[in-house]
């Protein structure tokens, strides 16, 4: 008789095998599936579970990567996502966390050399999900500025758990706008138009993003890397100081480092 451990090992192997379990090295007979009335074979019954397994994980990836899906279409997405599911099965029971490294997977896929921007598109998609599922933490607010007084320039900060910087040599916002627009829209994106640097974070329940110009990028990366505030602001023109502080330091994207 097959032990429960062995039965589940074989069942999982059959479930995760896109083929017909040839790679599982065991006889499906060991699963001891009851032929019942004979109306459906054991293989047909198993395929119900196999289909649900693959389709439910595909659906999760479609939800998490809407721009990638829109850029390459449902068929190509299903193909890539299927390969991803094979090689990167979920290790967490929370489906909302599934697919975190899909962008790296796309980076490594030689079939996508003609779409070099796709992995960055995925990074932006994931940053929006990551901002939703990230833990809460008390962000630094405008009222906290006064309390710091003389210590202000020496104060250090870290990114809020929901905050991410995505840097790309491609115009991700234009790609996203076009991909998610009406498919009848005949517009196109000039991939040579230049890249973008984005800060993605959460304000209350809303995920937001902001295109960073060079001074803002320098400030945000310096602050996130642990530089004291005075140092992070060193290269900022006086006329831009108050806008930088309002837009980034006290906008919910940073927490006071402890």
């Amino acid at each position: 008789m097959t032990s429960l451990m062995e039965l589940q090992r074989l069942f999982a192997c059959v479930l995760r095998d896109a083929g017909q379990s040839d790679g599982c090295g065991n006889d499906q007979e060991m699963l001891l599936i009851d032929p019942g009335r004979g109306d459906f074979s054991p293989a047909e019954r198993l395929s119900i579970y196999r289909n649900h397994h693959r389709l439910s994980l595909l659906a999760a990836l479609q939800t998490h990567y809407p721009t990638v899906l829109a850029v390459i279409g449902a068929d190509a997405f299903a193909h890539l996502a299927g390969d991803y599911v094979d090689r990167h099965p979920p290790l967490d029971a929370r489906l909302a966390f599934y697919g975190a490294d899909f962008a790296d997977f796309l980076d490594d896929d030689p079939r996508l050399r003609a779409l070099p921007y796709l992995a960055d598109v995925a990074r932006f998609d994931w940053a929006l999900i990551a901002a939703q599922i990230a833990a809460e933490d008390r962000s630094f607010q405008v009222d906290d500025l006064a309390a710091l007084g003389d210590e202000l320039s020496e104060a250090r900060f870290g990114p809020h758990p929901a905050a991410r910087i995505v840097r790309s040599p491609y115009p991700l916002l234009a790609i996203r706008d076009l991909a998610l627009a009406d498919p009848q829209n005949e517009a196109s994106v000039d991939l040579a138009a230049g890249g973008c640097d984005l800060l993605i974070w959460r304000q209350g329940n809303d995920v937001i993003w902001q295109l960073l110009d060079r001074p803002a990028l320098n400030f945000v990366t310096a602050l996130a890397a642990g530089s004291p505030l005075g140092e992070a602001l060193a290269g900022i023109a006086d006329s831009a100081l108050s806008a930088i502080i309002t837009s980034y330091l006290v906008s919910g994207a940073f927490c006071r480092a402890t």
Binding site: L4, I33, P90, I133, E136
Partner: protein, 308 residues
């Protein structure tokens, strides 16, 4: 395996904060709280007895906030799908810790999980997979239920599954398996009437026999849902997709269940989610049926009647 026989675990009392004037007095019928309904339900405050949340969907700080907002209005039932209690390998302790944190935060009226497994070699298979009804599987479940009840410091309810295959080496009927699980672990049972019907059609299990095999005192909640009928080359199989109204045969089976069991009922709807009012109307339908035969059901329980 270290077996224990617990009967001393009790549902934690509902916190006073949940029994306020705005809460409906009758906790009998609830619906699932699903993300697309979050805003509508808090705005419309429909007349329902309680809300069920899928534990795994409320394990982030933002989603817990929604559950806590809903808890101000309704009692919450926490329904887990990811513990893999029937898995031969040890439980995912990180996941159990997350469940404990959620339970501490929302102070639910009920906590439930499934008679199923969903994890192997550390990989989540994202489905409620079928167990053989053997002594070995029963031992594994009892051991894990015991661990969870110890950790959560409350009784949990275990739900009978819907399945698309059964095993030749099962030695217990589904009803015997459920009854023995409750007896040995001290857990309660969540009787999913749609799942019973699906298994009746898919495997020829006898739902009425299952009713008779269960101690009415152990059934603490009832689930109702829609299923999908798939016909292929003249053969039919029922898929438990929670994507349609409760079917007429399931309502009839529910009526029969009410003659033996008295427990709050939940309408589940997960795929092809309708507008909130459709879901609430299903809950009211269950409420009407419960109120109708409920009196005789309650009396039957008191008399210990097993007649169905």
């Amino acid at each position: 395996m270290n077996m224990s026989f617990r009967t001393d675990v009790h549902r934690r009392p509902m916190p006073a904060s949940q029994i306020d004037a705005t809460a409906p007095a009758d906790l009998a019928t609830g619906i699932g709280l699903r993300a697309p309904h979050h805003q509508a339900i808090l705005r419309e405050r429909p007349e329902i007895g309680f809300l069920e949340i899928h534990a795994e969907n409320y394990m982030t700080d933002l989603s817990v906030r929604v559950a806590l907002a809903a808890r101000e209005i309704w009692p919450i039932s926490v329904h887990g799908v990811g513990l893999s209690l029937g898995g031969a390998e040890p439980l995912d302790r990180d996941h159990l810790q997350r469940l404990a944190t959620l339970v501490d935060a929302v102070e639910p009226m009920l906590v439930s999980e499934h008679i199923a497994w969903c994890r192997q070699g550390g990989v989540y298979l994202n489905d409620l997979l079928p167990l053989p009804y053997t002594e070995e599987a029963l031992d594994v479940l009892v051991f894990h239920v015991d661990e969870v009840q110890e950790r959560l410091k409350c009784q949990i309810l275990l739900e009978n599954p819907s399945t698309y295959l059964s095993y030749r080496h099962s030695t217990l009927s589904e009803g015997e398996f459920l009854a023995e699980l409750a007896r040995r672990s001290g857990c309660g049972l969540l009787l999913d009437v749609n799942n019973l019907y699906v298994n009746q059609r898919n495997h020829g299990f006898d739902s009425y026999q299952t009713f008779a095999e269960l101690d009415p005192r152990t059934v603490k909640e009832i689930h109702l849902a829609g299923h999908h009928v798939v016909t292929q080359a003249g053969a039919t199989i029922l898929i438990d997709d929670h994507g349609s109204p409760v079917s007429d045969p399931v309502w009839s089976l529910y009526d029969a269940a009410l003659r033996r069991f008295t427990a709050p009922t939940l309408i589940e709807w997960d795929s092809h989610l309708p507008t909130l009012d459709v879901l609430v109307a299903e809950a009211h339908q269950a409420d009407m049926r419960r109120r109708g035969p409920a009196m005789s059901g309650a009396l039957g329980t008191v008399r210990g009647s097993a007649n169905l």
